[in-house]
Each structure stands twice: as structure tokens, then as C-alpha cells.
Amino acid sequence: MLPLFKEIKDVIKWHELLWQMVGREVKTRYKQSILGYFWVILNPLAQMIVMSFAFSIILRIPTNAAGNIPYSIFLFVALLPWNLFSNSLSSATASLVGSSSLITKVYFPRTILVLSTILAKIVDFLFASIILIIYMIIYQVPININILWIIPIFIIQQIFTIGLSLFFAAANLLYRDIQYLLTLILLLWMYITPVIYPADLVPEKYRIVFQLNPMAVIVNAYRQTILGGGAPNYSSLLIACLLSIFVLLLGLSYFKSREKIFADNI
């Protein structure tokens, strides 16, 4: 725990740099493109339309949700946070290598590079969520007080994402194979996470795999609280939370142990 607090203190001390880096990411991403930042919304929207067509009209995956919630909303509620996770992880993994000129020249906490990338992805995520909100209004999806659960769920997701990102970013700096490996991992991971199908379609004997996959618990919890209007499964969420903190501590300790040789190996 101690190195975590020390790192948090360091990042707070350098918070101006963190915000500048987030600003840089967000401002420069879609420069010199006509639609500009609108791409952030357009991308998941197109993804949702295509996937909805494939999985609800061709494959006819049931949503198992009470009422008349269309598959597209069912999918989108899970797809947005999954995309956030997947985009954050892959960009963060490349973030250290992409800033090699800074790493070899100026000192600042290296975790800032990883954190700023993830924060920029969160900004994208918030913009993309606008469609979901509009969509939910159109279809009059009922919501209640349980929707506030998305705040702790979101925080758990970020703890998990940061932990993994720190590990992958440091590993990728030393072995560039990691970024290619990650693409493969993320592809497989999406299928063992109930993004395109409901969690209750999974046979009982495989449920344990889901319990130990924080992303499955998180994605499922979003769905339960936003669409189902119920509370999430507390014990699963607690396990996911503890696992995420564990991953964060592990990721950070790996990152810190490699940090001293970043400039030598980049």
C-alpha cells in the first residue's frame, strides 16, 4: 500500500503536467480531420449498429431483460465501458514507448504518461455516453436510484484498468511483443466478458470464471443497475474490487521496479 500512497502524492504534486498531457491528447487526436472530435461518437455508434445487426437479427441473442429493451441498448450499455477498458489499456500500453523523447530527457513521474492516456480515454467515453443517454430517453428506459451504483462500479473499473496498464506499459517498453500480445488478449477477453450476450446465458459450471474476471462483473453490474434498475451483486462486486486493488498494487510495483531502466532500454 505504501508505494501506492507515495505515487499518488507524487502525481498530485505534478497534477499540472497531468492535465496538460490530457489536454494535449484530447486536443490533438482529431486535428486535421473534418469531423474532428465527432469521431469519438461516430465510432462506437457505427460499431453498435453493425454488432446489433449481427447479434440480434442474425444470431438472435436474447437479452433476457424484462420489458422491451432493444438489443442495441442492451449491447451499448456494456460496449461503452468495454471499449473504454480496451482503448485505455491498448493506448496506455503504447504510451511510454510513444514518449521516448521525454523519458530520456526530463524527469517527472512516469506514471503520469499512463494516467494521462487513460484520462483522455475517459473524456472520449463521456462524449460517447451522450448517445446512450439520448437512446435511453427515446426508448424510455426506466431508471431509479440504483443508477448511482455506476459511480463505484466505474471507480473499480478504473482501478483495474490503471493496474493492468501500468504493468503492460512497463513490460511493453522492455519487450515490444507485448502490444501485439495485448491485441490478442483483448480480443479473447471480450468474448469471455458478457458484452454481446447476457451473463445468465453462461452455464452454471463456468460462472466461476466470470466471478474471477473483474471486467465480467463490472460489465454485468452496469447492465443490472442501468437497465435492470436493481442493485448489483454485492459479493461479486466486492471480489472484483479486491482483485482490482490487488492488480493495481502488483502493476505499480512492477512499474516502479522497471522504472529505473526505462531510459536505458527505450
Binding site: 505534478w14 499540472e16 503536467l17 492535465w19 496538460q20 498531457m21 489536454g23 494535449r24 486536443k27 490533438t28 486535428k31 486535421q32 523523447s101 521525454l102 523519458i103 530520456t104 530527457k105 526530463v106 524527469y107 517527472f108 529505473k260 531502466i261 531510459a263 536505458d264
Partner: protein, 248 residues
């Protein structure tokens, strides 16, 4: 001790390289028990101290470890053994423009680079006019820097770095670039820093004239060790004699 801002104690730095470039070569080598990495010694048990307000030049042939010393002081590299003590805020003037983003405007880059060099937003705002004035590119300051000429780019980068108000200033060859007018202006600014007894300057260059006129003490490195640590004349002389020997 309280006057010492930089202290190297038995500092060694070894870079290791992978011998086998591909996995196909690496795996057999690993099984056969061959050496998979090759060490290159950049610094070998280096000892020196720099006191507050000193202006120290570091000279030596290519690959003698000059830049490695600056990187160790800047805190971007760690020694393999020994200890590097640094007291004070370090500002590197090493290869300018590392943090510049081509799509951002000059003004936005001032904020970004300022933050990278550890400045608070208020400090940047306070110095914004001075930075723009010094760079002499006021009319282009709201243009993306990708449209800048390399000279303009360099001017902006240097203006930001020089306004950081450092306690320890690291200068690596940078003054070799840019037109002579701007170079002279940079040196003038550095002369101001030299007069300030709270600012320590470590200066790396191949230009012996610059070193001799600017520094009060010169460390001559060769074969990863300190050969001479003396007034500029003596160190530079030793360097020149060694140089002649190698040419012969």
C-alpha cells in the same frame, strides 16, 4: 556539504545490449548457455562534487559518458552502482523540444513544455510574455508549431527552457544550433545565470572556445573516468594532447 549540490560517489553506469537480435537466435543461445547480453561501460567509478553556483564544463571524446552524466543528474537514468546526490531543481536544456507537439500552437506548447519542466501554471503565465518576447516569434505564436521553420521551433523551445528559473541548469550542445544572433542572445542569458550564485550550470560541449570562455572549471572525461578536473586551460590542454595522440 551544504554547499554541494551535485555529488557523484563511485558512480558506474553499464548499458547492456541484447546480443541476439531475434527470438530465433536468442533461444538457442539461451539453451547453449551463451552470453545473451553485452555490457558497455559508460562510466566507471566516477567521483566528483559540484558546489552551488559553480559553472562546470564537461569535455571528452564521443562515447566518453558526458551525456550519461547529465542524464544521471537529471534523474532520468540511475547508476548501476554508486550514488548520485542532487540537491535542487534541475532544468535540462538537453536536445530542446522533446515535449513539443506539432499540432499544438506555440502558446499551447509553452504551457505544455512548462508543465513538463515542472512549472506551475501561474509561473508560466507570469513568464508568458517574456518567453514570447525572447523567442521573437510573437506573430506566429498562435499557429501550430508544425508550420514553424526549424529555427523558429528551436527559438521557442529554448525560450521556454531558459525561463524555468532553475537551480541546476544542464546544457548539452544545444547552442550549436540556431543563427548566430540568437545564439549570442542565449549566451547572454546564460551569462546572467552565471552571475547568480544560486544557479549551478553543467555544460557539455565539443566547442573548446565556448567551454574555455564560459566555464570556470572543466572536467575532462576519457575511458569512462575523470582524467582531469581543473581550471579550463589545464583540462582542455590535456584533452588536446590526448586527441593528438589518437590521431597519430
Amino acid at each position: 556539504m551544504e554547499n554541494t549540490v551535485i555529488k557523484f560517489e563511485n558512480v558506474s553506469k553499464v548499458f547492456s545490449f541484447q546480443n541476439q537480435k531475434t527470438f530465433k537466435e536468442f533461444l538457442p543461445a539461451l539453451i547453449k548457455g551463451e552470453k545473451t547480453t553485452n555490457g558497455f561501460t559508460a562510466l566507471d567509478k566516477l567521483n566528483f562534487e559540484i558546489k552551488k553556483g559553480e559553472v562546470v564544463g564537461i569535455i571528452g571524446p564521443n562515447g566518453s559518458g558526458k551525456s550519461t552524466i547529465l542524464k544521471l543528474i537529471a534523474g532520468v537514468m540511475w547508476p548501476n552502482s554508486g550514488k548520485v546526490h542532487v540537491h535542487g531543481k534541475v532544468s535540462p536544456l538537453i536536445e530542446l523540444g522533446a515535449g513539443m507537439h506539432p499540432e499544438l500552437t506555440g502558446r499551447e506548447n509553452i504551457y505544455l513544455n512548462g508543465a513538463i519542466l515542472g512549472l506551475k501554471r501561474k509561473e508560466i503565465e507570469k513568464n508568458l510574455e517574456a518567453i514570447i518576447d525572447f523567442s521573437e516569434i510573437r506573430e506566429f505564436i498562435d499557429q501550430p508549431v508544425k508550420h514553424y521553420s526549424s529555427g523558429m521551433y528551436m527559438r521557442l523551445a529554448f525560450s521556454i527552457a531558459i525561463h524555468v528559473h532553475p537551480e541546476i541548469l544542464l546544457v548539452d550542445e544545444i547552442l550549436a544550433v540556431g543563427d548566430s544572433d540568437f545564439q549570442a542572445k542565449c549566451f547572454k542569458k546564460m551569462e546572467d545565470y552565471k552571475k547568480d550564485n544560486n544557479i549551478t550550470i553543467v555544460f557539455v560541449s565539443h566547442n573548446m572556445l565556448q567551454i574555455e570562455s564560459f566555464c570556470k572549471r572543466v572536467i575532462y572525461l576519457n575511458h569512462h573516468q575523470v582524467v582531469s578536473d581543473n581550471i579550463p586551460k589545464i583540462s582542455i590542454n590535456k584533452y588536446k594532447i590526448d586527441n593528438l595522440k589518437t590521431i597519430k
